[in-house]
């Protein structure tokens, strides 16, 4: 019987040497004349164990990791083909605690299937959502999505069904589905993992969206920093077109739908939906004033659904298992599951999909296992560069859109970056403002000017020039940026700045020794 080895092609695994491991396996299989094949899967999301190699056994898949190319020969000598024990042996993949405790709905196939095999996709319940959607009227599909309680996973948390209904109800000869895959937030990689590990689920979700609102054309706008995601996505699109999943007749129906990948050019602000639309149209990524909403006048002025990758990739399971099934997960108004991305200085860094409601402490300490350096956790930035820094004192906050908002934070795209006690929060506040200054599109004054002035004010604080007065100015400036900016870049930069200032005031005051020296000198 042919043995199947799985060596991920996810860029996180590649960054840790997966390509060399795969080449070594191939060479050993040939020289040993083994009846074996290698599948290049996505990542299971356990990055501290990447490259994580798996082998199919009669009892299920067995994992080994982290595997180096120099380990391959010994693994084969030792009987990896039968799933035998070895120092890198991790047991049955499905029983690994990090995976066993997850609720994988959106990421059900990621890391399991061959990302560009449509047969594999179908064998793991793929396309069932789209097949169900084809039996419904557009209004019924939209009702299902609304009923599921799905909210935009890009960060804003707007109900996806309501967005779709607006586009459905808007007349237009040409409508568009635009997938926002411009995942620029540090600490987030869920979009990348889906595009590299299960691209068909995104294609299926976009096709369902197209049928639901009457759009025939879709664009996936992603980042030039993601070359592997672009390559896998394009491969999958070719396969989907040849198989009739996309094209003039979606799965033999009367609906037409096709998708093209478009690549940004290193502008963070293009993750903002209206800047993204401008960029897609071939212009500078300058934020548009709303209204008009993209649902009414979006891409090329036409009715447009613009959703994040994870929102769209969550639609197939909703149409497959039903809105009620999905809605049963979660808490309050945050329904379903959320792929947490645990990153930075953390022992068990990776992707963890679970129902809303875990506390921040459970995520960082229990699932993440504390810091990688072994030092105490000082702060966790939740929601990307525009998200707030949370201290340990707020570790009882449940992961939920409203609960985080109540603590002056946001869950954003659900990325968490952990910092140990060596971090200087004044520097992080400065970085947030500096980043905003570099990436501002320049359209509105609070963001364009405020960010630069903010850096100067923070520099005066660190130089101990009238710090109390500067802190007052900084607070006022943040207030102006928060309420006066056109989009989330200027509007949310105050979150990291003010949370650093509020929760870590000691980093903004001169050290006691300098202070006493100053007093003594007077």
């Amino acid at each position: 019987m042919t043995v199947t080895f799985y060596v991920p092609r996810d860029s996180g695994a590649l960054a840790l040497g997966a390509e060399k491991v795969a080449r070594k396996f191939q060479a050993e299989i040939e020289s040993r004349n083994l009846d074996a094949r290698i599948v290049r899967n996505g990542s299971r999301g356990l990055y501290w164990l990447e490259p994580m190699v798996e082998v199919e056994t009669p009892n299920g898949r067995v994992a080994y990791g982290p595997v180096k190319a120099s380990d391959v020969a010994a693994l084969l000598d030792n009987g990896i083909a039968e799933g035998r024990v070895h120092p890198l042996w991790l047991g049955l993949t499905d029983q690994m605690p990090f995976l066993a405790k997850q609720t994988r709905l959106t990421f059900a196939r990621c890391g399991i299937t061959d990302p560009v095999s449509l047969e594999d996709y179908r064998a793991h319940d793929g396309l069932r959502g789209l097949e169900n959607a084809l039996k419904l009227t557009p209004a019924e599909i939209v009702a299902q999505v609304t009923e599921s309680g799905l909210r935009g996973r890009g960060g804003a948390g707007f109900p996806t069904g309501i967005k779709w209904k607006t586009v459905l109800d808007t007349k237009g000869e040409q409508k568009y589905i635009v997938c926002n895959a411009d995942e620029g937030d540090s600490g987030t990689f869920a979009d990348r993992m889906i595009m590299e590990g299960d691209p068909f689920v995104l294609i299926e979700g976009m096709a369902i969206a197209g049928i639901a609102v009457g759009a025939t054309r879709g664009y996936i706008y992603t980042r030039s920093e993601y070359p592997h995601a672009i390559a896998v996505m394009n491969e999958a699109l070719d396969v989907a077109r040849k198989a009739g999943v996309l094209g003039a007749s979606v799965l033999g129906s009367s609906y037409a739908f096709d998708i093209e990948v478009r690549v940004g050019a290193g502008a963070y602000v293009c993750g903002e939906e209206t800047a993204l639309l401008e960029s897609l149209e071939g212009r500078r990524g300058i934020v548009r004033a709303k209204p008009p909403l993209p649902a009414h006048k979006g891409l090329f002025g036409r009715p447009t659904v613009i959703n994040n990758v994870i929102s769209l990739a969550s639609v197939p399971v909703i149409l497959d298992r039903g809105a009620v099934f999905y809605k049963d997960f979660g808490m309050g108004r945050s329904r379903g599951t959320i792929p947490l991305q645990i990153a930075g200085n953390v022992k068990h860094a990776g992707l963890y999909e679970t129902a809303f409601g875990l506390t921040l402490g459970e995520i960082v300490d229990d699932i993440g296992g504390g810091t990688a350096t072994g030092r105490p956790v000082k702060a966790v930035q939740v929601g990307g560069p525009l998200g707030a820094y949370f201290p340990r004192a707020l570790f009882d906050t449940p992961f939920d859109y409203e609960a985080f908002a109540a603590k002056d934070g946001l869950i954003g795209h659900a990325g968490l970056v952990v910092f140990d006690d060596s971090v200087d929060m004044l520097k992080m506040a400065r970085f947030a403002l500096e980043f905003c200054a570099v990436e501002s599109c320049g359209k509105c004054t609070p963001c364009r000017i405020g960010s630069t002035r903010g850096v100067e004010v923070v520099d005066r604080i660190s130089a101990n020039i009238e710090p109390e007065k500067q802190i007052e100015v900084l607070t006022d400036l943040c207030n102006t940026m928060k309420f006066g900016s056109l989009c989330a870049l200027g509007g949310f930069t105050p979150y990291p700045v003010m949370s650093a200032l509020t929760h870590f005031p000691e980093d903004f005051r001169p050290a006691p020794s300098t202070h006493f020296a100053a007093v003594a000198a007077e």
């Binding site: 996180g12 590649l14 501290w48 592997h228 050019a265 071939g282 560069p385």
Partner: protein
């Protein structure tokens, strides 16, 4: 024999003609030109403007807005180091300082021998194996001082 500039123009027109039928063709054209030449030759901007029936100023505005596009060739290698928060939490800032010291250039700079250009990047999506970098399109995770030194030596060979 054709001069270098007419050669660039001919190749650019080929690319522009091939892509101008797309919806919103400007970014795809600029990307393709940069792939072809390693940078976007400034003499191609008026050609784009004519083909797309937009002003030269508009093309210039788009070209300058995006960090990716360059108006002159990069070094033989391009090293991108992530400066974003997740990489900072794992010592990225110190590595960035070390890289600038090892190569003797600042951000966006190219070494005098033309071997390597150093670029900052804000997130490669490798935040679970930080600090990260990209060398000529190849991703590198858990970068440390030793690997950085190897890279700095390798790119100059």
């Amino acid at each position: 024999m054709q001069s270098a500039s007419t050669d660039i123009a001919a190749r650019a027109i080929g690319i522009i003609d091939q892509l101008k039928g797309k919806e919103g063709p400007l970014l795809p054209i600029l990307h393709e030109l940069q792939d072809e030449f390693g940078y976007v030759p400034q003499e191609t901007l008026p050609l784009i403007a004519t083909a797309l029936n937009i002003s030269r100023a508009e093309v210039h505005g788009v070209f300058t807005f995006y960090h990716d596009f360059r108006d002159h060739p990069a070094g033989r290698h391009v090293l991108k180091l992530c400066r974003a928060e997740a990489c900072q939490s794992m010592g990225g800032a110190a590595l960035a300082d070390r890289a600038r010291q090892l190569l003797g250039v600042d951000w966006h700079g190219t070494t005098p021998d033309g071997a390597v250009t150093l670029e900052p990047v804000y997130c490669l999506g490798l935040c679970a194996c930080a600090p990260s970098a990209m060398l000529d399109g190849e991703v590198i995770g858990r970068l440390n001082a030793d690997t950085l030194e190897e890279i700095a030596t390798e790119v100059r060979l």
